[in-house]
Amino acid sequence: MLPELGHFSLILAFCLCAILGTIPLIGAGTGNRLWISLARPLTAGVFVFLSLCLLILGYSFVTDDFSVQFVAQHSNSLLPMQYKITAVWGGHEGSFLFWTWMLAGWMLAVSIFSKAMPDDFVARVLGIMGLIGAGYTMFMIATSNPFDRVLPISPIDGADLNSALQDFGFIIHPPSLYMGYVGFSVVFAFAIAALMSGRLDSAWARWSRPWANAAWAILTIGIALGSWWAYYELGWGGWWAWDPVENPPMINWLLGTALIHSLAVTEKRGVFKSWTVLLAIMAFAASLLGTFITRSGLLTSVHAFASDPTRGIYILGFLGFVVGGSLLLFAFRAPLMKSEFSFGAISREVFLLANNIILVVASAAILLGTLYPMVYQAVSGGELLSVGPPYFNIIFVPLMSVLVILLGMGSVSRWKKTSIDYLKKQLMWVAIAAIVLGLVIPLALTLEFRIGATIATALGLWVVFGIIHDVWVKIGNKASKLAGLKSLAISYWGMQIAHFGFAVILMGAGLTSIYSIEKSVLLSPNQTVELGNYEFLFEGTEHLSGPNYEAERATFQVLRDGAFVRELHPEKRVYTASLTPSTEMAIDAGFTRDLFITLGEERESGAWSMSLYIKPFVRWVWLGAILMALGAVVAVTDKRYRNLKVKALAANAAESKSKKEALRPVST
């Protein structure tokens, strides 16, 4: 009975979305206050009914209702409780419901935290998100209903959740990734609402910024969690593989990064308006494209969901409709978006423009590499090829290096116009220090020269020293340094923290790629193998029974220069329901290096095949991501975004003010 209720409430959610996507939009167009005022209650209704769907599906999992097909396919009576609950997003139907629920959550958040905005604008934003929601719920009802039953003969037990997913990472990675992904639909809705109402001013940019930053921060964390999870779960010691399904979030992240920078220019200087709108559309389109790539089953990937061509066609149709409609509207409204190009050839605007070009080019190149195999297969009549990590690295690494150099210059330069002499004065010593230490530090620590390590260190230090120098200069003319630190704007701190995080990722990624070492060996019990400065003593394995698996657990003593470091216990598991084997890595995590052991298999002689890794600085990749997200969150808390009490008046005032602002240089 309950699953039918879930199905019914899904249909209700669709109906409410459809109403939300029409009435308030028409109301905003015709100035009908009653119709406009329907937006918030309808949003709450959508959220309630989708929450009900999610709760019912969760309840079906918890109570082992295997008459529900989705539950039967993704759960098992022996599955531990935390995975029963999270198995909701363990397959296509449930994860799409979860995704749609996230959209409703963002809609609710917009309806609550939008008191400072004019009602007609909020109605437009919510209406557009309602249309998106209608597309998603329709998709579920038509092609992937999570409440479908297996009747009359229901399975006695479920097929179990994919063993690779039974892990802590699965509990946190999909929710954060989805939440970040879906968050960009808020920014998209703001952009479309602004296009519709013709209100493309700095107030619009100011309203959008906190949402863009929040979505970006969550997406950053989501991607980092995915990387961390792949690192310790998949067992090849990698933290990024350019897997076809890793790429769409990355494309989205790059476009999102471009967007938050472009929004900053639009807010502060009133330029790049059309570009910002276009980026918002592109970022949202990228998230739909990512969905298409994941769901269509066209690509070979660890993430591949069960494939069903009708789903792919539906999403592609929806993508075409959304992008086509948005671009059409964009074209009609283009005359509204005239910006004055009132900035010099060297100015913060130009550096941010370069930032945007690099980020968009990088995402286009990744998109090309991701889609190329599909296109090639279609064009060549079924011949297959694969585009591997080398392609992406050749493109991505140089582009990011240039981006970092420009980042250092852009974040100290001024709006409107900056002289070369000023940049030289600010950055000369920063550059010298970064290059010299970039040469010296890796050389001193490893006693060998590696050009990559020097570049990575120098680029990282370039950003770090640039930040320190800039803060120093900013507080230099204050009476007390502490008071100076306090006087800096919150959003300035947000920016610097995020840039610092970027530098940390850059150094971590560069150094771990260069200095990681690994060895694959066959070891009998009580044999030792050396790797780097470390010795690994394999003591043997013992049998172990888990709740829903059987395991062989190995014991290793790790020694460094003869001194005991710690014991490590990698495992080889076989899950009882599905009989799938799974490898559990053992990792000794550290700030400067990770030790990492993964078991292969036992040979008849009693020896085990295994791989051992030493990965210096790999933690910095995720640490940097956390810092970047933190920076964005700090920027969101800036009071500037909340002190916008007077509604329509403020919007007009802000516009005229932005024109005045354009006449005088503004810092940060």
């Binding site: 994919n162 690779a164 066209l298 690509l299 070979t300 660890v302 591949a304 069960a306 004055e340 190009f341 900035f343 050839a345 423009l353 370069a354 070009i357 690099i358 080019v361 286009a364 190149a365 090309l368 590499g369 190329y372 079924g382 011949e383 297959l384 090829l385 694969s386 585009v387 591997g388 080398p390 392609y391 050749i394 493109i395 140089p398 582009l399 694959s520 060996v521 066959l522 599905s578 799938t580 084997p581 799974s582 490898t583 993964t598 292969g600 298999e601 040979r603 008849e604 002689s605 020896a607 095949s609 295994m610 791989s611």
Partner: protein
């Protein structure tokens, strides 16, 4: 020329340069890094040069896996049920590697034997990789069209 026009042009110039560089880089990178995919039948037909980096796919032949007891060395045969291909590999096989299941490997052909540098198997048992499926399908087609098959074999 009006100043704002000149600025617009400069910006368009920027973007065009960026795009040109990107396209150049991309094409250069693509031409050097794509791995073409071949089936055991294609390799038997001599379509691949020695030492060319490629991907292969097929089923692991039942009873063909031989594991060394002293080292990581593994040998097995992949098949698309028309032709077989001997594979040599020094490394750890993925969890889902099994006889009778699909496998994809990267590496190069050396005198008719495939030296694998990486062996991949799918995570989901019910899921057959696009590549393995293509290999089996094309072998199937070849078998059902005997004339074509002889042509392919020569």
């Amino acid at each position: 020329m009006k100043p704002h026009r000149r600025k617009k042009l400069t910006i368009i110039g920027f973007i065009a340069t960026g795009l040109a560089v990107a396209i150049g880089l991309s094409l250069y990178a693509l031409s050097n890094t794509i791995d073409l995919f071949f089936t055991p039948s294609q390799i038997a037909a001599g379509e691949v040069n020695n030492g060319q980096r490629i991907r292969i796919g097929g089923m692991v032949k039942e009873g063909s896996v031989v594991k060394s007891q002293e080292s990581l060395h593994v040998e097995f045969i992949t098949t698309d049920y028309s032709h077989d291909l001997q594979v040599r590999y020094d490394g750890i096989l993925p969890d889902l590697f099994r006889e009778g299941q699909g496998v994809v490997a990267e590496g190069m052909v050396n005198n008719g034997v495939f030296e694998a540098s990486r062996v991949l198997a799918k995570h989901d048992e019910n899921y057959m990789s696009v590549e393995v499926k293509a290999a089996l399908d094309s072998a199937e087609r070849a078998r059902s069209m005997p004339v074509m098959a002889t042509e392919g074999g020569q």
